[in-house]
């Protein structure tokens, strides 16, 4: 049995608590980094992180990129999307193909 975690600022993640996800509100980036490391060790298969925090702890997130679990997924925060998620797909395509062939028209 695995769990799903959400890391973000309090405002953004409040709703996720209501649908039954485990939420961890973090203010500082060290806080977030620490929380991520802690819960990645536990039974969390998916960890959603709001984009503003995701951007700040990118280096830590990338350590988990090639592991099977957990899947760390950026979601937009209260302040709207910053396009980090799309950016990530773009980067993956560039890494695999060598050139960005999916998003040419954007």
């Amino acid at each position: 049995m695995y769990k799903i975690g959400v890391i973000g600022d309090k405002q953004s993640i409040l709703g996720f608590k209501a649908v039954g996800l485990d939420v961890f509100d973090c203010v500082t980036k060290d806080d977030a980094r620490h929380t991520l490391r802690e819960i990645a060790k536990e039974d969390y298969a998916i960890i959603y992180i709001t984009e503003n925090i995701y951007a700040e702890i990118k280096d830590t997130v990338y350590e988990y990129n090639e592991k099977r679990l957990p899947a760390i997924i950026p979601i937009p925060g209260m302040h709207g999307t910053q396009g980090i998620g799309i950016q990530n797909i773009k980067k993956a395509v560039e890494k695999a193909v060598g050139a960005d062939i999916l998003f040419n028209n954007d």
């Binding site: 099977r68 899947a71 709207g80 993956a92 193909v97």
Partner: protein, 230 residues
């Protein structure tokens, strides 16, 4: 391309030929693997993009509902309302094998079966926007899960493709030319030795024939001398 530093012997030549064969076969198979991975990857990446756009748009509208809710209600009531979630979510993680890449598959179950009653609060003190937000949130939840699975798969596949591509290139542009070069070198060296041997033999034969002729001539001369002296 630099050739390998080996002794030009027949034994090394055979083993090199064998290695070249293996390398060529491996190269072909890796190339096939790369092509197939790429095909699946591109499909997934497209789906990932579509899902992400969809989820982001929906989350955006949920947030705006939340903002309204938190404006209408006092923050204490909002916090209190959401303090104890009624619904719990747990997921099963399966595994899927995509061209020998181990990919997680998520399957979720909620602890409450009744989807119409997911609100962890009474309706007296809360606003309708909150209900909307929570209903929508649980509505896109399956999509968010799919997004997580697809996004993880894209990441893993991208890493695998990069690795495979490097291997293919290393084989194609380094290993195989190196082997071919070395095999050619050894073959030329062996041929050269063979020719050297041949000429040496011819030379020796020449000398022997010459010696035999001289001997014969001497014998003839001796016979002639004997005859004339009689």
């Amino acid at each position: 391309m630099a050739r390998l530093n080996v002794n030009p012997t027949r034994m090394v030549l055979t083993s090199l030929k064998k290695r070249l064969k293996v390398a060529v076969k491996g190269h072909k198979m890796l190339k096939d693997k790369r092509d197939e991975l790429m095909k699946q990857f591109l499909e997934l990446a497209r789906e990932n993009k579509r899902l992400r756009e969809q989820v982001e748009a929906q989350i955006g509208s949920i947030y705006s509902n939340f903002v309204i809710a938190s404006a209408v209600m006092s923050s204490e009531i909002l916090n209190e309302a959401l303090m104890y979630p009624k619904q719990g979510v747990s997921i099963e993680v399966g595994r899927k094998n995509v061209m020998s890449v181990d990919v997680p598959v998520f399957d979720f179950t909620t602890t409450t079966d009744d989807t119409s009653n997911i609100y962890p609060y009474g309706f007296a003190n809360t606003s309708a926007e909150l209900d909307n937000a929570i209903e929508n949130l649980s509505g896109i939840f399956p999509e968010m899960l799919r997004l997580a699975a697809v996004e993880k798969e894209v990441q893993l596949l991208a890493a695998e493709i990069e690795k495979t591509r490097r291997r293919v290139n290393a084989l194609e542009y380094v290993m195989i030319p190196q082997f071919q070069e070395t095999i050619k070198y050894i073959q030329m060296k062996l041929d050269e030795n063979e020719r050297g041997n041949q000429t040496r033999l011819m030379k020796v034969k020449d000398l022997m024939v010459k010696a035999a002729i001289e001997e014969k001539q001497e014998k003839t001369q001796a016979a002639l001398d004997e005859y004339s002296s009689k």
